[in-house]
Symmetry: C2
Subunit: 442 residues, 2 copies
């Protein structure tokens, strides 16, 4: 059991890291609920033999690339902006991918954003097309970025789609996840990177929170007691139709071992010719079909809730890593079915006046499996009201309380919650990020 | 311009049609706003040369199939249930598919539900597997439907997924759309069925409304002034990722004429080597890429809003028909990209006590293009309050008012709304279905 808590933005700013160099890390000793940020790896804290959760929080400076013609130097000083970053990585089948992602994902995001410095700092709409050889963020926006050189003038396009600054940031985050996944693939042999991980990241940039989720972690905003979901989970159940569609179009990926159809349970050979409930990639409802030979194969998607598995192997369908994952004792690869792309949701901090009790909570599934959104919101409110609004440690105490309640107490019959239900047997990591209150992000 | 209005459930019940035979049809004379229900085709009413909207409303009796062993006859009387049905079909490139769908879709739904009569009338959970040769809805549920014969006893499956009655109805509706589409394909040559159509159907069955939508029509519930969306639109924009994913996996479907990438505008050959905004099937945001030869092809998805087209041809991506549709002056088929499957949303009428002013509104895009959800809700409330709550014609007057306001008045510069904006140039069809008030569905 472990928790990570980002306290106040002020404290955060004091530890600003710059460009692609310095960074801070959350780490916690076994059993203790301290929060400190020396560089280093998160260590195990009691429950699983090796804690596969990793976390990272950073302030990153995105520096504009020097102009290829060197003109940027004349501007004097570096152009760029900061973003705040918090991320949780829930590893499986080893911690290698999670560790590497916690060390690098923010650098990939920074790299993608470097292309956009000039464009994001310019209030006019992003240019659709950039001249030959130009870096999008280079030198002088007025001549290079917004339109063509006079002798290369284009006709006006009436059917030109407007693209917002926001959607450029979303695209940058999406591609950063892809580059992160590619890097894990390339370095997995030399770096001995085992397994894969879910990734949940919150990026604060220019007044907006971008919450990117690939996996089964979850983020919610609690604002004035109201719960605003900031992510959804990607599992064999929620992504069933995408997976079945792929299996239908690329049946060779199933290695003759799996059927793309979903059935409520395994079919026995003696049931051939009977009718059974099924659904395919087009259906949300269920219908009966006559059982044929092919239906006796194992279903691509099988099981319910936390026990749902794709190809009888994996319970999450988005994330980083897993490049070598195969179906047990076979050569059937899982990776083609997994997506490394996150869903990015945006929350505009400027659209609402936030009070010190408004927070963004990020948690791995170890939290949410035993404590639901409403219970988390109740704990947040209960703990925050017991501290002064300007006490910076109040958010840390919320994170600690959330972890403690979800872990339960070790009894003879395992970890138990106060109601004697089973506590989480999983690693638990939580960020509690204040949206208002002492200090802010502007 | 045309409108169809279902008035009260009582009137509806008076015109009950039975099994797969009788049916009622909405029709309206040109220019006039009458509502009557003789069998026949909806005719054109002034705006488009041929009104391609079709409508149907029915009460259908679903009769249990006779048992294969004839035992059902001994039960005495027919077993079965009624469902209420309203549907709008917005045709394109001809009215043939829309006309046939308006005449047959409810019969396909009836046919799918006949399999389920015994199961839906039994409160216990649907059986996962049915014995050899058994029709799901046949004869005696107690021995045939719920479990195996004693000498064929199966072990209990602990990982058996529970399937609800509701999801069986959803599956039946989904498969009915598929069979409808197959029938149009088979009979299009002999019946001279041109074009395709969007389909929006509302089915009331056993206390619940099932709203099935394939296309860009829309359904909303207005309850106590609140708007509850009951459908979403399926267009090149909303289904972009599904279409791009298919194009990526089956590039041969693009006939070397299209690129699966989306760009904000067409690219000119002289822009080769520059950087342009794009997005692919994995992205929701936008990013820059260097323009290559392949990017000069026409984008699979192009345009915005009502002008968005797939393969430069069609503005809706779900519906019935269109089996022969090809890209202009080419042999590239459109149909593989279209889906005939609806999204089905369920509204449980028993979960809330409805008043006479609560309604379900179904409308083709001709309505929603000029009158948004809030404006529709305002018209509904305005018109309903001007009639007695038990006046059955008040719903008809709402439908009429909605059509009139969206049509506007023909002036020198085309059909104009009171605010001088352009009225709908499209056919307009509307159903206003009361959820409470005089008479009900139970």
């Amino acid at each position: 059991v472990r928790f990570v808590s980002c306290t106040t933005p002020d404290e955060f700013r004091g530890r600003r890291s710059c460009g692609t160099s310095g960074r801070t890390r959350g780490e916690q000793g076994a059993g203790a609920f301290l929060t400190f940020f020396p560089p280093g790896r998160v260590i195990n804290a009691g429950k699983s033999q090796h804690n596969e959760d990793q976390a990272c929080c950073e302030v990153v400076f995105v520096e504009q690339r020097p102009s290829p013609r060197g003109s940027g130097e004349l501007d004097g000083g570096r152009k760029g902006f900061y973003f705040h970053y918090w991320a949780l990585f829930d590893g499986h089948a080893g911690s290698g991918a999670a560790v590497m992602a916690s060390e690098r994902l923010h650098l990939h995001i920074c790299e993608q954003l470097r292309e956009l410095v000039g464009i994001l700092q310019d209030p006019s709409p992003p240019p659709v097309c950039l001249p030959h050889g130009a870096e999008p963020g280079s030198a002088d926006p007025s001549t290079e970025e917004h339109g063509e050189l006079p002798n290369d003038a284009l006709p006006r396009f009436h059917l030109e789609k407007a693209v917002s600054h926001e959607s450029l940031v979303i695209g940058a985050i999406e591609n950063a996840f892809k580059h992160m996944d590619d890097q894990i693939e390339q370095e997995r042999a030399t770096q001995h990177l085992a397994g894969g991980c879910c990734a949940l990241a919150a990026i604060y940039l220019m007044g907006k929170f971008y919450v990117a989720n690939a996996g089964d972690s979850r983020a919610i905003i609690i604002r004035n007691g109201e719960i605003i979901p900031m992510s959804r989970e990607f599992t064999p159940e929620t992504e069933r139709q995408r997976l079945q569609f792929l299996a239908l179009l690329r049946p060779e990926l199933l290695g003759k071992e799996f059927t793309p159809l979903e059935f409520p349970r395994r079919i026995q050979p003696k049931e051939l010719g009977k009718k059974m409930l099924y659904r395919d990639q087009s259906m949300n409802g269920w219908a009966y079909k006559k059982i044929e030979e092919d239906d006796l194969k194992f279903p691509l998607i099988f099981g319910e809730g936390k026990k749902a598995r794709m190809m009888a192997t994996i319970g999450v369908t988005r994330g980083l890593g897993d490049h070598d994952l195969k179906v047990f004792s076979s050569n059937i690869r899982i990776k083609p079915f997994l997506s490394c792309f996150p869903e990015v949701r945006v929350y505009d901090l400027t659209q609402y006046e936030h009070c010190p009790d408004d927070v963004l909570v990020l948690g791995t599934d170890g939290l949410w499996d035993v404590t639901n959104d409403k219970e988390v919101a109740a704990v947040v409110m209960e703990v925050l009201t017991s501290y002064e609004p300007n006490d910076p440690c109040r958010y840390t105490m919320v994170a600690q309380e959330l972890v403690l309640r979800s872990r339960g107490v070790l009894k003879e019959r395992g970890w138990r919650l106060p109601n004697d239900k089973l506590g989480s047997g999983d690693d638990i990591s939580v960020f509690v990020i204040p949206l208002g209150g002492p200090g802010n992000y502007t």
